[in-house]
Symmetry: C2
Subunit: 465 residues, 2 copies
């Protein structure tokens, strides 16, 4: 008899929790390979749950390869690789590796690797290896390699009309890393404002640093000034150019209001996250807040992990002079955290125009793929479609559906179709009716050939239930 | 008339503070190029200080190129590069770049760049560029590239007799970065113990994360158990293999005591910093604490910045299984912070035996240089030498001198000789008589040809005063 404390499921759907319990026992070796599992009926009876619940859990384990079924004989534990020498961390690895098993993962907001300009990148890396010696091994300037800071400053001038001094730029291995350094020079007891809905990583970083933070609501023009003023926030993390996941482009008027808000008090700052600014398809982008900064209030952040590759550990932030002075005295004892070789390579890659050429190719590629996905979604006869977002920038679409299913049920249904999706409600601080039943479909790393099948499976979620 | 508020000098020697004020004004453009400065006598009178004080400050500015002197005409402000467009951050840069101007910098505990195995390193980098494609750009495993973790584990087994699973190893861009991640999984209200004297970076990191910490005294066998017990510390950062800067190798008995201490309470941990373990010249190293760990108490840390190059941003830590489980669930949302390309290259570099070959060359090289420095120090007729440390490991010597000068005066004197040194007292929490008048001479990146001249200048400090 197999019995689980299903009351400990913490609000999760029964079938999902049962599935997780079974998987854990398989990976831990408690259920060894080739063991016959109880029949659906038996397990349902012993655990006081419905047969359908067991069936859903078993189905999922079958799809993922943790179980095999033999006709008329029942379900058997599969010989899962990590089983023999189980350790807790291997369970976690198993979960991470599992991501690869999805037929399509709409939550992976990543680059498409086979479009990476390998030959160009390898060419500049080889050039750097030939041309530099001592520079590759000596301690880099703590702000990052000067050539790279200068190349980025020029690029930002061309592409975003920004006037940036390389002396006010800090290169770092990741946005999280830069954030860690930034927090140390911002007012100690500041309250951080977080867009709601928004990118979940940001509040998580604040939690890690034990900072106070508050959600700020969004309206059609961008961040809600009323909500911001009510929140008591001093510092706001904001993506005016392209909000994730709503896609809102903040209006010029709202940008002005936001700047004014920041200037009202001496310790207010805006952290402008310009992630994704490179992918606009139909409209010209609006000038970033950074270029409107009159009063040392804007911290600008961006990264190459989306435009180039997540393995190239180069992000940057641009500080107003006032903060830069503080940064220099606080942080010059830390070594720069990015590889010198890759910094030189990226500087060359930008200088030679390869970066902008790559962006322009990717822009076309993403636009085409987004349009195809939109077309296929609109043609779907199964999907109870209400609305699709305009898709004029970024690499995701929002799809509103008309369904009695809850968002949790939609996600679970997708899982059974072997596709992984997120719903807008997951990006929210609290449940709001208007943000329900909206799928967030990231298509950046999706293969075009899979789009029709992925949409067919999406449709199935709503039919089979 | 040039007047400075010298009472704001905060305990600094008068001449040093005056020198800093003048330099600041030169860099800020307040004193423009070719301006004639007041004579030594005038400046002394106007500021109520001695002519000798002014002379010392002017001399230093001359040496560093901020002033020029014309016979019978006086002192003039030099045309310093960063002057025209002064911004506060440039002043700071000037200070950083200044490090290059020292004739010898005994504080720079860095590698000697021209001994870097360029051809081997470039060879493996080129191989990685040829052999890998997609692996170079896709998001790396959050613990780091598996090949590298396996290569390090094998190396640690060969060189340190450690049995390490690559699954319990975390690669990160720096020790500071790994520390930031580590702190999140250690008990929240722990008190961290810091060796006194010790590496100054460690308490600084604790301060950054607002952690409680306490100094722990050292005795001849290593960390003092009595001081440790009194301190109330729960977690101790310790370098049993080679304490910096004392050079103490912790006795086997003390290691056992330390392990027992850690096992007494459920939330006690030892962070074993094995930095420098590779450079032992005469004796075999003692087994690291990590290999004696029976009870999930040892966190092991090491880096390639000293053994290879500071620009190769690869450090690692090894966690006990219990902590690893927590680490996986806390940190798997962060991307790995080191470059994938360099991780693959380092894995190859270790696998092919290049790393150990390089270490063995460097060991001979450092040993020879240390012995030469010791010989020259002993022969110096100017240096009031009392004692030199044994130099059997690491890349620095401790030199005790008999002098009426304070440590601040010694450092200032060195500055006037255009050499940069640290005194042991700087590594201490509070002033202790026994740690006074001891020079810490790092010789790793010093050129052999400069040793005699550097020691001559060291001697001058004590003669001219």
């Amino acid at each position: 008899m197999l019995y689980y404390h299903l009351e400990a499921r913490n609000g999760k759907p029964l079938y999902q929790y049962l599935y997780e319990c079974l998987k854990k026992d398989i990976l831990s070796g408690r259920l060894t390979a080739h063991t016959r599992l109880p029949s659906k009926r038996e397990l349902a009876r012993d655990n006081h749950i419905s047969v359908k619940t067991v069936m859903n859990a078993y189905e999922q384990l079958l799809v993922e390869g943790y179980l095999t079924s033999k006709e008329k004989k029942g379900y058997f534990v599969a010989a899962v690789e990590s089983m023999p020498d189980y350790r807790p961390e291997l369970v976690q690895h198993a979960q991470i590796y599992m991501e690869d098993r999805w037929f399509v993962d709409f939550t992976a907001n990543q680059v498409v690797y086979d479009k990476f300009p390998f030959s160009m990148w390898k060419k500049v890396m080889r050039e750097v290896l030939s041309e530099y010696d001592i520079e590759l091994v000596q301690r880099a300037h703590f702000l990052g390699i000067k050539e790279l800071r200068a190349a980025i400053a020029d690029y930002l001038c061309r592409s975003r009309g920004m006037q940036v001094s390389p002396e006010c730029m800090v290169i770092g291995a990741s946005i999280e890393y830069l954030y860690g350094r930034l927090i140390k020079i911002l007012p100690r007891h500041a309250v951080y404002g977080v867009e709601n809905p928004g990118y979940k990583k940001i509040p998580r970083i604040y939690e890690e640093y034990s900072l106070q933070w508050a959600y700020i609501e969004m309206d059609s023009q961008g961040i809600s000034m009323e909500s911001l003023r009510k929140s008591g926030a001093d510092i706001l993390h904001v993506s005016p150019e392209h909000h994730y996941p709503l896609g809102t482009v903040m209006s010029a008027a709202r940008r002005q209001e936001l700047l004014q808000w920041a200037e009202e008090e001496p310790d207010r700052y805006l952290i402008e996250d310009d992630y994704d600014c490179e992918f606009r398809y139909h409209t010209r982008s609006i000038a970033p807040l950074q270029s409107m900064d009159r009063n040392h209030r804007i911290i600008y952040m961006n990264t190459f992990s989306k435009t180039l590759a997540p393995s190239i550990r180069i992000s940057y932030m641009i500080l107003p002079e006032k903060l830069m002075t503080r940064f220099v005295s606080e942080s010059n004892f830390y070594s720069n955290s990015s590889s010198s070789c890759e910094q030189y390579a990226l500087a060359k890659f930008i200088r030679k125009g390869y970066f902008e050429r790559h962006l322009s190719r990717m822009r076309k590629y993403y636009q085409k793929k987004g349009e195809l996905l939109m077309r296929v979604l609109k043609q779907s006869s199964l999907l109870p479609l209400v609305h699709i977002s305009d898709g004029r920038s970024g690499t995701h679409l929002l799809v509103k559906v008309d369904t009695p299913l809850t968002d949790t049920e939609i996600k679970w249904g997708a899982r059974q179709q072997n596709i992984h999706i997120a719903c807008l409600s997951e990006f929210c601080g609290e449940i709001k009716e208007e943000y329900q039943h909206i799928l967030v479909l990231n298509y950046a790393d999706m293969e075009e050939k899979d789009i029709r099948e992925a949409v067919r499976r999406l449709g199935n979620i709503f039919v089979e239930w």
